[in-house]
Symmetry: C2
Subunit: 641 residues, 2 copies
């Protein structure tokens, strides 16, 4: 019978979502299922006991090979960068303190030794780090400097007499702060400090610095305090570290990008100090890639719980009949389904990001500067959208579950609290989007130097903004304008809203127009002789809009590319519809912009809203399939909803 429509299968979709690392993800899920009772157990433990259990789980994860992808074969690993991200994303279904401590140990601490160190450091420590025999911290952030890492004030001063570096914390503002693993477990840390040789500063470098002796006592000159209770992630022992004349051998300098000879001569393969700094930071992009992925995973957990609840819970209805299931209410569909759709879109954007990350890092020094910069921009864009999405989604899901959502047993308490800092750590989202926005304004990175607002504003002042915009943007604005105008005339009032090409054209047009217009505003401000900081401040909101528009475009592009590559069938049909809902929800949200810029008639704007309503209604019966495909292990799902 041709009119029997085959429904999409959650299993088929789950395979699609798990992608090429399905086997690794399956192993990570097994590990989580074995420890599914952990969050209940955690509740009964005091802080120290909880933290020790978290450490035990991190150690066990290493023993189970879940960290192997992160390290070279010589040290027990498989150096599979994409696999490392996949393992991290999957572990995010479980307790997020375990995840973050895992990330600190293997990703940040291990990653710094791996990426910033050289063979002697790898030989000395990587095997022990990979197996979690050597626990460590990543000591970068200071109380006074979180986002502006380049301005940290801890010093590492070379002492040629003893062939050592001396680490010092000048004052409380420069204490290392929020350092995961530091308060209780770390035996050592990758410490970021201003390198000083013979009175000359060479900028931020990292050193391997022991913190504790085998008994757990801090070493002389090291002072550590607990950061105290946090909003979430209580299982992670964040601490503050002060250094007072702590000495380490010269060879503890992680010297891939900068070294000091016994004679006290500084050398670096990268001449420009700004470029050197950003290159070093760039090698640590993995943390950013991972956190965005974890945010998406947390959103999946929240949406699975809330959608299942909505499909069961009844409230109100016609007299004499069973009460109505929440998911049958139009508003409830509107609350949940666009978030489900966006989670799919972000999943595929994250998959694309992880692939780029894998390729760039597998290529190592053979990759190009341009590819590295593109990766960093994509990581920043995806991380900020993904983590803001997590905050919003978890909140909406909690509310959609009413009072039941407020019970800790139903997981939203931990999901909310633990993911809340995802928008801040591994790069504050606003700063990251700013980075994306600046990147969009030029690919001439060297011209930018420190990438700060003033330098950028000056730069814009030197160039014709229109030319710049055209140089940056792949296809010419004119072509886009023509395309969009065509789209505008064609389908009115709605026929081709469901054409992915139209949807993508809309997002591209917005991106290009905003980028061009913020460039013009920056230039005009400079031309008028306004203080550069003031120019930047006034244009900042606009610049962030440009960045967000770019981020939204690449997310949609990733989703559409994925759907296009699927074999025909009910799963493809369903994901195509999910794509429509995602794209049109975004167009609906910001439809004012397109109207203001003559790219959307008011009638067509209204039809976008109607289309979103219709898509939500049509997807209602596939809602459970869509969340089942997220593959949240059943034992990790709520117990009382």
């Amino acid at each position: 019978m041709t009119d029997v429509q085959q429904r999409a299968d959650a299993g088929v979709l789950a395979v699609l979502l798990d992608g090429e690392y399905a086997a690794l993800r399956a192993r990570a899920r097994e590990f989580l299922v074995e420890h599914a009772a952990f969050h209940v157990e955690a509740e009964s433990l005091d802080r120290d006991a909880y933290r020790d259990r978290v450490r035990d789980l991190v150690v066990e994860a290493a023993a189970r090979g879940l960290t192997a992808s992160g390290f070279p074969a010589a040290y027990g690993g498989s150096e599979d960068f994409g696999g490392n991200v996949a393992a991290f994303e999957t572990l995010a279904y479980g307790d997020l303190s375990v995840l973050v401590k895992f990330g600190v140990q293997f990703g940040l601490f291990g990653g710094a030794i791996h990426q910033l160190g050289t063979t002697r450091h790898h030989d000395a420590w990587l095997a022990d780090i990979a197996s979690a025999r050597l626990l460590g911290s990543f000591a970068m952030t200071e109380t006074g400097h979180g986002s502006n890492v380049q301005a940290i004030r801890t010093t590492a001063t070379f002492d040629p007499d003893t062939d050592e570096f001396v680490i010092d914390t000048p004052d409380d503002d420069a204490r290392k702060d929020y350092i995961g693993n530091a308060a209780r477990h770390a035996e050592a840390a990758a410490v970021f400090a201003q390198l000083v040789v013979d009175g000359t500063g060479h900028g931020v470098h990292a050193l391997f610095v022991p913190l504790r002796d085998p008994s757990g006592a801090t070493l002389p000159g090291v002072r550590i305090e607990d950061c105290g209770t946090k909003l979430g992630l209580q299982g992670v022992d964040n601490g503050r570290i002060w250094f007072d004349g702590v000495r380490v051998p010269r060879t503890n300098l992680l010297n891939r990008y900068g070294d000091v000879s016994p004679e006290g001569v500084y050398s670096s393969p990268i001449e420009n100090p700004d470029r050197r700094f950003f290159t070093m930071l760039g090698t640590l992009v993995q943390g950013r890639v991972c956190v965005g992925g974890a945010g998406i995973t947390a959103s999946k957990v929240a949406l699975t719980i809330a959608t299942r609840y909505a499909a069961e819970r009844r409230q109100f209805g016609a007299a004499g009949q069973p009460e109505t299931v929440l998911l049958d209410y139009g508003q409830h569909q509107r609350r949940l389904l666009p978030l489900v759709a966006r989670t799919y879109a972000l999943h595929f954007a994250q998959e694309r990001l992880a692939r780029d990350f894998h390729e760039v890092f597998t290529a190592g020094d053979a990759t190009t500067e341009r590819r590295r910069r593109a990766l960093e921009s994509r990581a920043a864009a995806t991380k900020s959208l993904a983590t803001w999405h997590a905050t919003r989604t978890i909140q909406e899901c909690r509310e959609a579950c009413g009072g039941a959502g407020y019970l800790a047993v139903n997981r939203f308490a931990a999901l909310k609290a633990d993911t809340d800092v995802f928008t801040t750590f591994e790069g504050d989202n606003t700063i990251l989007l700013q980075l994306v926005g600046k990147g969009r304004l030029t690919d001439l990175k060297d011209e930018f130097g420190s990438l700060d607002g003033v330098a950028m504003a000056r730069y814009i002042g030197r160039e014709a903004a229109e030319t710049l915009a055209e140089k940056v943007i792949a296809r010419s604005v004119i072509e886009r304008v023509r395309d969009a105008a065509r789209g505008h005339d064609e389908g009115e009032p709605g026929g081709d809203l469901l054409d992915p090409a139209y949807q993508l054209r809309m997002l591209r047009t917005r991106e290009e127009r905003i980028t061009g217009s913020v460039a013009r505003r920056l230039k005009a401000g400079m031309d008028a002789g306004v203080d550069p900081a003031e120019v930047f401040s006034r244009c900042q909101h606009h610049l962030l809009a440009a960045a967000a528009a770019h981020a939204e475009r690449i997310v949609l592009e990733a989703l559409l590319t994925k759907v296009e590559a699927m074999p025909t069938g009910p799963e493809r049909d369903l994901l195509a519809k999910v794509g429509h809902l995602h794209a049109l929800s975004e167009i609906e949200r910001d439809r004012a912009w397109w109207m203001e810029h003559g790219r959307l008639s008011t009638e067509r704007a209204k039809s976008v809203t109607r289309a979103v309503d219709t898509l939500c209604r049509e997807l209602r019966d596939d809602a459970l399939t869509l969340v089942a495909a997220f593959g949240v292990p059943e034992p990790l799902l709520t117990q009382e909803i």
Copy 2:
């Protein structure tokens, strides 16, 4: 010198915000300051000890007279309804577990005895409740029924042989759930149950039911379990209660709106069961009024911390200069200042609501049905906007403080967790807005019966929707359309954006147009013979938009009315600007709607965005003044930011 502009004074604004209950608020602040260290102390306590300390503080608040306003003079109070709200709002600067337990004891439990009981109940219990000698619960919600209270399933069956009611929990779905005070401290509860007399149900009524003996042991037939860890409010002992043949004297029925004679004859001053039910619920509106106020207070705390941090914290900037203060960044102004402005607007809307509440309840039975309904609608509208605002504001402020915002000592952890349920309890916000929307569709309440969607849709089907809309809306649509059209032509492209009359006209037009159009859609659906539940589901999102538009209008109106009444001077000038920022932020947020409906040209829409930018920049230097006026007691403010 005429060009020396006098700056607004925070003290003058604080007096304005504290309003007529300044003395009472000052006493509540004193109480909080004395216990300012409580949240630090609370961290070191286990759950039971924490809860006992919370109870002690609630008892002490009563001893300090902070609850007096809630009760009649005969029982040690002053029966000042407005004062009661003011005390609650002010206590919300402090620990919110104390606040919520306070609200359960004096507002919900005490309020039920007060409002639903009669003299015999007042004489027996009110003095002890007011002094917290008798601790109690408000046992309404069941696991299966939170929003749809009318469908709760606990029964109170009259036994004429013993002149008693027998309370029963038919199954786990009907257990009382989330009952504050129940898990540990309540000796009694106001229990809501289906009243059954001689096999006939008379709908939901409340009874005074003892739960525990003086030793704290539960009484025979009563079973209580702890709800376990929640997302927040751990200091409140929420519990679940099952009743198994629990007997109470017939006279324990709180019989203001329904009574049973010893002979088993049911009587009520209100014939219609639906009307009776909603009248009873209406007497409990105080909780809703209070929670909205608490949400606004919590927003003030968050904004004070974040604004002060933003005015101190520096990050990035031009080389060789001090780093830039966060508040000098355009984006940071954009993040915080519209929220400050909206907090002012909501404060004045809440003040207006509290005054209406005071007047209606002071008038008692002398008030009109119409006024009561208007109060309930205003309470629902204000509570939902205020509590969603709290969730959003606290989140934004946490993020704006970066990692520092994630430390528990800086209060966002508790603020986020404790206020999260404000959007759910005392009426789920979505359900409340739905109530507002339905109320806007008709003032012919009796026609509606149960107010459920189907009945409403049927009702709409019987009336000409256009006529109905005109009857409901105070001024005629035609007049509004004329006004708005005038406004539209006049000031283009921006001159009169700062005219409060224009701003209000915009919000009124939107409200009236959406209300009219949803009425037409409902009618059209019914006319077409679509299943009423389906019609409602499809129009629900639209109906909620109508309600939100109404709520936004009354909030702006309250703000503008307040500013207009202020004496001229720098404080009035400042609040006028705050009003502009609030109004234009709202118009900016939903500008698509006005464009789609021909009430805003695209050029004018862009000028709204520019005006918001400008207002944020202009208000930057008054930001600290605006938050200082919130009057958060200094010792309650953050310790490490």
